[in-house]
Amino acid sequence: MTRITAWRRHPLARYAVLILALALVGMVYAAFVQAGKPADAALAAGKVDDVAAGRSLFEKHCMSCHGTNAQGTTTAPTLIGVGAAAVDFQMSTGRMPAGAPGPQAPRKPLPEWVNEEKIRQISAYVQSLGGGPQVPGHEQVDPKLGDAAKGGELFRANCIQCHNWAGAGGALTQGKYAPNLNESTPTQIYEAMVTGPQAMPVFNDTTITPEEKRSMIAYITQVREQRDPGGFGLGRIGPVTEGLVAWVVGIAALCLAAIWITAKKRQKS
C-alpha cells in the first residue's frame, strides 16, 4: 500500500472528509450571504423645506401602505400622531420601509436612499400631521448621565420579560419576537420606549420618567459592552446553550477520551 492509500484508509479519514465538506459548505454559504448584502451608498441631498421634502419622500416610499394622507390602510397603521420619534426609530433601524410581509418587520440594513437627512424630513412630515413624541436630544439619552444600578432595576421590572436579562431578545407569540438590544443605539432604545413599536408597549413619561429612561439606557449599554468574566458568553441566553455545551462538548469529549483509553492496539495487517 502506498502512503496515500494508507491515509485514505485511516479510520479517521472519513471524519476528516466530513469536516472538510462541512467547512466547504459553510464557506460557500458565507460567500453567498456576503454577496447578497447591498453596498452602502449615501446619497447627497439638497437643502429643502423638511416637511415638504418629507411629504414627497412619503409619497414615493410610504404611501402605498400607509395611505395617501398617512391615515393608514388595511396593511399598515395610521401615522397620524405617532410622532417623529416613531419614524426615526422605524427608519433608522431599517424596519421601515418594510420588506416582505411577516409577523414582524425585522431590523435590517438601510436601503440605499435612506440617510439621516431623509429620515429627518419624513419625521418632520409625520410630526406635522398630528404631533407625537419627538426624537430625543443627545443629552436625554447619554448613558454617562444615567444611574446604571437604578436603571437595572427598572430594566428587570419592565423589559426583561420579553428582551431577556441581558437584552439578548426572546420569542413572542405567532412568530413575533422581542429583538436583541445589542445593536440599538441609545436614541433608538429611548424612541422604542416612548413609541412602542410593533409588539412593544409604550412606556410614556409618566410611567417611566425621562431620567429613568436614561438610567435604563445606561444599564443596557454598560451590560452589553461588558466582557464576559467567565469565558465565552454562549449567547447570554442561559441554561439552554449551557446544556448544549455540556453535552456536545463535555460528554462528547469524555466519550472520545473513554474510547481512546480503552482502545486496543490496531493489528498490523
Binding site: M1, P103, A148, A149, G152, E153, R156, A157, I160, Q161, C162, H163, N164, W165, A166, A168, G169, G170, A171, L172, T173, Q174, G175, Y177, A178, Y219, Q222, V223, Q226, D228, P229, G230, G231, F232, G233, L234, R236, I237, G238, P239, V240, E242, G243, L244, V245, A246, W247, V249, G250, I251, A253, L254, C255, A257, A258, I259, I261, T262, A263, K264
Partner: protein
C-alpha cells in the same frame, strides 16, 4: 540480584505492622487483582463518579463564602451595575464569590459544569446499562440504586440551582412552589411548610442549603458507595467476545491496568470540567439580577436535566377543573399536575420497574454477566429509543422559546408540533429502531454465513464477476456469536388448545402474547441457506485454496 527481589525494610516494616493488626494483605491481594472488562462505554459511569468528587471539593470551597440567608442588604461589591441594589445576602455572597474571591468564579463555574456533567454522565451510563441489559439478574438492586441516585441528583440540582437567589433561581423556585401548591388537598400545607409561610418567605434558601450540602449529598455518597461495592462484588458485565462466558470475566486486573485507566479518566474529567469552566461562562448570576417575585425574564430556563419537566409544562393545554363548578370549592389544576408528575412518573417508574417487567415477560431467571448487544434484543432497544424520544421531545420543548427566537419559527407552532410529536415520535422511534435492529441482525447473519466483503472482484471462467468474501476475524465472529435468543415463556398451547398454566386469565394471555412478541430468535445467525452461493463462498471454510490467492491480488 537477590537484593532486588527482597522488599525494602522501609516498606516491609510498616506493611507488616499494619497487616498483623488489620489483616488486610489477603483482601488487598485478592482485590487488587480483580479483573475489569474493557469497553469504552464501561467508563461512562465514571463521568458521574468523578464529577461527584469534583462537586464535593468545589462545593466545599463555595461554602466557605456563601451565606445562606435571605436578609435584605444593599450590594456593595465590585460589580458596578448592581451597586446599591437591594438583594438577599445569599445573592450578594454569590456575587462576592464571583467577583471578589480569588479563583471564586472559576470554582463556581467548575461546580456548575460538574453538576451538568454529573447528571449527564449518570444518564449516558444508565442508557448503556439499559441497552446492554446489564440490569438483569443479579444486578436489579444496583439498577434501582442507580435510579435513586438519578432522582436524588435531580433534587440536588434543583436545590443548588435555587441557592444563589438570582432571578433565574427564583423563577425555578416559583415553579417548584407552583407544582407543590397544585397538589390536591395537601398542596397548600406542603408549600407553607416548605417556604415557612407565604412564598417566597425568608426560610427557603437556608432550608435548601441544608438539603443541598448535607442531607442529599450524604445520601448520594452512601448510595454511590453501595453502588460501587455491589458492582465490585457482583463483578462488571462484559461484552460478548472470545472466551467470555457467564462464568468468567475477561479483562485487565484492577492493579495496575484498570487503576491507571481509571486514574487517567479522572484527570480527563477534571480537565473537561476545568476547561469548560475556564472558557465557557455558566450561570452568569450578575446578569440575571437579584430575585424579586415581581420580575421574570424571557429565556428563563432550568438546567438541562430539568428541561423535560419545563417542556411538559409548556406543552400542556390549560386544563383545569373547578370542583362543583366553582373555584371556591377547590380547583384541580390539571395543567400543572399532569405535566409535573406524569412524565417524571412514567420515566422514573418505568425505569425502576423495567428489569422486573422484562423478567415477568421473558420468564428469564438466569444470572447474566455477558451483556447483550442492543440489536440482539430489538424490543428492549426499541422501548429504550422510544423513551429517549419521549424525553427528547419534552426536553426540546423546554427550550421552545429559544428555538422560536433563534430559528424564526412561530412559538405557537413549536407547541402544536410538540403536542403531536409527544405521541407520534415515540411510536415512530419504536418502529424505526425495531427495523434497524433486525437489519443489523441480518447484517451479522450475512457476515457469519457469507463472510466479509473483501473488495476483491473476481472474474469467473464463464464471464461472471463476483466479489470474494473472506471469513470475519476471530474476535468479530466471537463477538457476534455471543448472541443469545431472547428467552420466552412456554406459551405453546397443548393439543386441545388450552394455554399452559399461568397464561389463561386475561393478564396471563397478555403475558403470553407479550412474551411471544418480545422473546424468541428473530434472525438466526446461521441461516443455513449459504450453500446456494458457492462462488460467493469461495473464500470461506475449508478447501477453498483459491481464497489466499485471491487475497493476494490486493497487495
Amino acid at each position: 540480584m537477590s537484593d532486588l527481589k527482597a522488599v525494602p525494610k522501609a516498606i516491609a516494616g510498616p506493611s507488616n505492622f499494619l497487616d498483623e493488626r488489620l489483616g488486610g494483605a489477603n483482601a488487598l491481594k485478592r482485590n487488587l487483582r480483580k479483573i475489569f472488562p474493557d469497553h469504552w462505554s464501561f467508563l461512562l459511569g465514571e463521568i458521574a463518579l468523578y464529577s461527584f468528587v469534583i462537586l464535593l471539593l468545589t462545593g466545599t470551597f463555595l461554602t466557605l463564602w456563601f451565606k445562606p440567608s435571605m436578609m435584605e442588604i444593599a450590594y456593595d461589591g465590585s460589580y458596578a451595575p448592581l451597586k446599591g441594589v437591594m438583594m438577599s445576602e445569599a445573592y450578594a455572597s454569590s456575587l462576592e464569590i464571583s467577583f471578589d474571591v480569588r479563583g471564586g468564579l472559576l470554582i463556581r463555574q467548575m461546580h456548575h459544569w460538574a453538576a451538568l456533567l454529573f447528571v449527564a454522565g449518570m444518564m449516558v451510563h444508565m442508557l448503556r446499562v439499559f441497552f446492554t441489559g446489564a440490569y438483569r439478574k443479579p444486578r436489579e438492586i444496583n439498577w434501582i440504586i442507580g435510579i435513586l441516585l438519578l432522582t436524588l441528583a435531580l433534587a440536588e440540582g434543583l436545590t443548588g440551582y435555587s441557592l444563589p437567589d438570582d432571578l433565574l433561581s427564583g423563577a425555578g423556585l416559583r415553579i417548584t412552589e407552583g407544582v407543590a401548591i397544585s397538589l390536591p388537598i395537601v398542596g397548600t400545607y406542603i408549600t407553607f411548610f416548605l417556604f415557612g409561610g407565604e412564598y417566597p418567605g425568608e426560610d427557603v434558601i437556608s432550608r435548601f442549603y441544608s438539603l443541598h450540602i448535607l442531607l442529599i449529598p450524604g445520601i448520594l455518597l452512601a448510595l454511590v458507595t453501595a453502588h460501587m461495592v455491589l458492582m465490585w462484588v457482583q463483578k462488571h458485565t462484559q461484552m460478548p467476545g472470545k472466551g467470555r462466558t457467564n462464568k468468567n470475566v475477561v479483562g485487565a486486573p484492577f492493579y495496575p491496568a484498570f487503576m491507571a485507566k481509571a486514574g487517567a479518566y479522572f484527570l480527563f474529567t477534571l480537565a473537561v470540567v476545568a476547561g469548560l469552566a475556564t472558557f465557557a461562562q455558566i450561570n452568569p448570576i450578575w446578569l440575571f439580577g437579584p430575585y424579586t417575585p415581581a420580575d421574570i425574564s424571557a429565556g428563563s430556563q432550568p438546567d438541562w436535566y430539568m428541561g423535560f419537566l419545563e417542556g411538559s409544562l409548556r406543552l400542556m393545554p390549560p386544563w383545569e377543573i373547578n370542583l362543583f363548578g366553582t373555584a371556591q370549592a377547590g380547583t384541580l389544576p390539571l395543567s400543572v399536575i399532569i405535566p409535573a408528575l406524569l412524565p417524571l412518573g412514567i420515566i422514573m417508574t418505568g425505569l425502576a420497574l423495567y428489569p422486573f417487567l422484562e423478567r415477568w415477560v421473558t420468564g428469564d431467571n438466569r444470572e447474566h454477566h455477558v451483556a447483550d448487544r442492543p440489536r440482539n434484543n430489538p424490543h428492549r432497544t426499541s422501548i429504550g429509543m422510544s423513551a429517549i424520544t419521549f424525553y427528547g421531545v419534552l426536553w426540546l420543548l423546554g427550550a421552545n422559546d429559544e428555538i422560536a427566537a433563534n430559528f424564526h419559527i412561530s412559538l405557537n407552532w413549536t407547541t402544536y408540533a410538540g403536542r403531536v410529536l409527544i405521541f407520534v415520535a415515540p411510536a415512530l422511534a419504536y418502529l424505526i429502531t425495531y427495523r434497524v435492529c433486525l437489519g443489523l441482525q441480518r447484517s451479522d447473519q450475512a457476515i457469519i454465513s457469507h463472510g466479509v466483503e473483501s473488495g476483491v472482484i473476481k472474474r469467473l471462467p464463464h464471464g461472471e464477476f463476483i466479489e470474494v468474501h473472506t471469513p470475519p476475524s476471530e474476535d468479530i465472529e466471537a463477538h457476534m456469536r455471543g448472541k443469545e435468543a431472547v428467552p420466552m415463556l412456554p406459551v405453546a398451547e397443548d393439543p386441545s388448545g388450552i394455554p399452559p398454566k399461568g397464561m389463561r386469565g386475561p393478564v396471563g394471555k397478555l403475558r403470553g402474547r407479550m412474551s411471544k412478541a418480545y422473546g424468541g430468535e428473530k434472525i438466526p445467525l446461521d441461516d443455513g441457506h449459504g450453500h446456494g452461493h458457492e462462488e460467493e463462498h469461495a473464500a470461506i471454510g475449508t478447501g477453498s485454496g483459491s481464497g489466499d490467492d485471491d487475497r493476494s491480488i490486493t497487495h
